[in-house]
């Protein structure tokens, strides 16, 4: 929901060659200084409590910045996960007399497991399910905390909670919590640049496109949700040790809303925003203590805050600042790749790359695709044409797994992919573009293409390190003629160029078969000529293309083989010129006399 501005890819080679621990040394030095300060400064009890709260809450809010900011999924039960960690340490160190560290880990794992379970039961469905299920879960956890007195001591809560032997003083424990905050903050800050982080951002921007680019959408969402829950559990465990007392009202739905407001206020996309929001929302109520004298008043104000932030400042305070800073940053022009993009489509199967047998897709009574056979020969351009509504795009969607086939078989290089989800088909070697462009809109052109390059099973990126990905993506962008604009955000490209970026994204993954869904739609005549040239250059490297288009000039010149659909059925199939002269095809397009 917001643009991560902190993810400018490393472009100057001098930067990327230095190892990460050297580049990030200033962060760790600063963190060490803050930890030392926390350990040595003499705070009075009041300040200490506020710092302890701010530190532990920040970690919980980092969790929200992963799930909501990075992955675009909502979690309204963060206080419940926070409670898992807090009660694990609370009950563990008192009633069970267990080691603190063991309890802390157990709390994280319990939160992680609960988060993963909730995610797995809900994340296949739309986002509002998740919102309601997390609210329900939050209510259940509160019910259990209050009613399972044998376990949780009920409304009285758990007191005299222990701390680890290393950090028995409040000051020492605070320093420990600050150190944890610094470590978790570092990990969350760099998550967007990892494979999982990129997948999360892709899922947030466009789930369908993420799937056909080889990302397991469901697993990515569950991972984000589980990470968020685990961070909540960690924060809760630290909190319990800090305050030595926990009770159910500290982990209620209202607290989940407080976490959410903190995250939104600071800026959901980055851990800096999370920390800012947390700090402000802990300090402001302290300054305005009179608000707390009227029950409900400060939560009512939080509610109003949420509405106003969403409306007027969707990226939060830090998002606002970061956007302002971005304007000052000079646009780095990238130098196009010097090596030409190598397409080495896999050659394991026989002469036929894609074999479709008796494919059907019915929507209720409507037979959108009915008993269609297609055989795509290796190394050629194969066109699928037909009048509007003939079932072309439906066929493509069944091929790439966005729709389940009603019946029939799809073989890619001899492998049966009929029942695979989209990301597995991509891993098996399928690449595609969309008729209505589906790029990841909060990212740069380069980042988009990198996600394509990261396809599981792509042999062209070696071990798949960051540098190899960038190199491959730059080659693909250069191949389509956009190498010098790699660092620009998607929104600054024209419609025609966005199409080219989508093609580059598919090419970077080095597919065995490229599906192009009406690539010429909406292009002007110059752009169409460029597209034609591009198709020739792709075909020249031996990559097989299956193209859908309405532009008969393009189709007849580019394709050697044409399959024609009408009303969901195949009406002609064969060598281009012969098919275009076929009487059934002529009558389907022009009507019969």
């Amino acid at each position: 929901m917001s643009v991560g501005s902190d993810n400018m890819p490393a472009t100057a080679p001098a930067v990327s060659t230095r190892p990460a621990f050297v580049r990030h040394a200033p962060y760790f030095i600063a963190a060490a200084i803050v930890v030392a300060l926390a350990a040595s400064m003499q705070f009075d009890g009041y300040v200490l409590n506020i710092l302890m709260q701010a530190t532990t809450f920040s970690i919980a809010v980092f969790g929200l910045s992963v799930v909501l900011g990075l992955c675009g999924q909502i979690n309204l039960a963060q206080a419940a996960f926070f409670g898992f960690g807090a009660y694990a340490v609370g009950i563990g160190t008192t009633d069970l007399q267990m080691n603190y560290w063991l309890c802390l880990v157990a709390g994280c794992l319990a939160a992680l497991a609960a988060g993963a379970f909730l995610g797995m039961s809900t994340l296949r469905l739309g986002g509002h399910y998740l919102a309601m299920v997390t609210i329900s879960f939050q209510q259940i956890v509160t019910l259990v905390m209050i009613n399972a007195i044998w376990l949780t001591h009920g409304p009285d809560g758990v007191s005299r909670i222990g701390r680890p032997a290393l950090f028995t003083t409040s000051q020492g424990y605070l320093a420990f919590c600050v150190a944890m905050l610094a470590i978790v903050g570092y990990l969350v800050w760099h998550l967007p640049d990892t494979k999982l982080g990129r997948a999360m951002r892709a899922v947030r921007d466009n789930e369908l496109a993420a799937g056909v680019n080889g990302i397991d959408v469901f697993r990515t969402k569950v991972s984000a949700f589980a990470i968020c829950a685990a961070l909540g559990g960690l924060a809760g465990g630290l909190f319990a040790g800090g305050f030595a007392y926990v009770s159910p009202d500290q982990f209620s739905f209202a607290e989940s809303i407080v976490f959410l407001t903190m995250s939104l206020l600071g800026g959901v996309a980055s851990p800096i925003g999370s920390a800012i929001g947390t700090g402000l929302l802990i300090l402001i109520p302290e300054w305005l203590r009179f608000l707390k004298s009227v029950p409900g008043l400060y939560l009512a104000i939080y509610g109003l805050f949420v509405i106003l932030i969403i409306r007027f400042m969707p990226d939060g305070i830090w998002g606002f600042v970061a956007a302002a800073l971005d304007k000052w940053r000079t646009k780095i022009k990238t130098s196009p790749a010097t090596k030409t993009l190598q397409l080495k489509p896999a050659m394991v199967g026989g002469d036929i790359v894609l074999e479709v047998q008796g494919l059907a897709k019915h929507f209720g009574g409507l037979k959108a695709v009915d008993n269609v056979d297609i055989a795509v020969r290796r190394g050629g351009v194969h066109a699928l044409i037909g009048p509007n509504g003939s079932g072309k795009t439906t066929t493509l969607n069944v091929l790439s797994g966005l729709y389940k086939a009603t019946s029939g078989r799809i073989l890619l290089d001899g492998v049966d992919i009929t029942t695979m989800p989209p990301h597995q088909r991509t891993a098996a070697g399928l690449g595609r573009t969309f008729q209505n462009i589906r790029l990841f809109r909060s990212m740069t052109a380069l980042e988009n293409v990198e996600i394509g390059a990261e396809r599981p099973g792509n042999t062209m990126i070696g071990a798949g390190g960051g540098a190899a990905l960038t190199e491959r993506a730059m080659e693909a962008l250069t191949f389509v003629g956009l190498g010098s604009r790699a660092n620009e955000p998607i929104t600054s490209f024209s419609y025609g160029h966005q199409r080219l970026i989508e093609i580059a994204r598919a090419l970077a993954s080095n597919p065995t078969l490229l599906l192009l869904d009406e690539p010429a739609a909406g292009l002007n005549s110059t752009e169409k000529l460029e597209l034609h040239e591009l198709l020739k250059r792709i075909a020249a490297q031996g990559l097989t293309i299956l193209i859908i288009d309405h532009d008969m000039t393009l189709v007849s010149e580019a394709a050697q083989h044409i399959t024609v659909l009408n009303f969901g059925r195949r009406i002609a199939d064969g060598e281009s010129m012969a098919v275009l002269r076929h009487p059934d095809v002529v009558s389907a397009y022009l009507g019969s006399e």
Binding site: S121, L125, Y129, Q139
Partner: protein, 290 residues
């Protein structure tokens, strides 16, 4: 057996309330493609309005009318303040804004009225009638009767009036509807007013059975949402069947399993449906097209 019949009656009565709120959910979802998380607060606010009016000494029927007029106004404000400015954004900001609105409404009432639950008298003097082994509470009878009447009204309104057809057209394809000269923003406004009144009606009807409290909104909303999933998201008949089913399950659960965890049954049923039959009893609309 007598107990079973008695529980069945109570369950259907309470389920009818969930069904009414669920109906409000579904109508807004169909018109705007977002779930209004403040739907339950509509019920809560209406119940408080009713309490205020009755305490001022107004006759019951007049209080009832005033409370519903108040809800219609709230529907207008809600649409203009929460939904309308965000209508071109994705669903996530809208969901978060409605959650914010729900927190704002609940806690504003808490700040104004305090945490003590209020009591609202039932509509009738007679507490109920004995029918064989089953005691029929008059308020439950009223709830069931109103729900039946509203379901019939709803059917007539959406299928047989021009306004209802315009609303349906808007929910199915906003662009096409506006090309046909339907004012989409007016239709959405009407939907919010209607849903607020429906939610309010449910709140007023259920208030004499439960206490009027700040929490009643979120409790009812969760049950109603579970009801819509059980029935099949976005389906009007599904919402009603789901609501009734949930009311019955919950009543039997409280009687035979556990009272303190009564509110947890909805969640268990919800998760069971999400795992085993996410499309609900009546099936859901198909996923996004590529």
């Amino acid at each position: 057996m007598d107990l079973v019949l008695q529980l069945l009656f109570t369950g259907i009565g309470i389920g009818a309330v969930y069904a009414l709120v669920a109906l409000g959910f579904v109508l807004i979802f169909r018109a705007t493609n977002v779930v209004n998380f403040a739907q339950g607060e509509f019920s809560m606010v209406a119940a408080y309005l009713m309490v205020v009016c009755v305490e001022m000494g107004l006759p019951y029927w007049l209080s009832f009318v005033l409370a519903l007029v108040g809800m219609a106004l709230l529907g207008v404000i809600f649409n203009l303040g929460v939904y309308y400015p965000l209508r071109h954004r994705t669903y996530l900001p809208v969901i978060i804004a409605t959650i914010g609105a729900s927190i704002l409404l609940a806690n504003s009432v808490l700040a104004i009225y305090g945490p003590q639950p209020q009591v609202l008298q039932g509509w009738f003097e007679t507490p109920g009638i004995q029918l064989g082994p089953v005691y029929l509470d008059s308020q439950y009878l009223l709830i069931i009767a109103v729900t039946i009447a509203l379901v019939i009204f709803n059917y007539w309104f959406f299928e047989h009036t021009m306004l209802g057809k315009k609303l349906q057209a808007t929910s199915q394809d906003k662009e096409m509807a506006s090309l046909l000269g339907i004012s989409v923003s007016t239709m959405i406004m009407i939907t919010f007013i209607y849903s607020a009144v429906l939610g309010g009606l449910a709140g007023i009807l259920v208030a004499p059975i439960l206490f009027v409290s700040i929490q009643m909104g979120s409790t009812i909303a969760l049950k109603a949402f579970a009801a819509t999933i059980i029935g099949g998201f976005g389906d009007v008949a599904g919402a009603i069947i789901g609501g009734l089913a949930l009311g019955v399950i919950e009543t039997f659960g409280a009687a035979y399993v556990s009272v303190p965890y009564k509110d947890g049954f909805a969640f268990l049923v919800l998760v069971a449906f999400l795992v085993f039959r996410p499309q609900g009893i009546f099936g859901e609309r198909v996923a996004e097209k590529a």
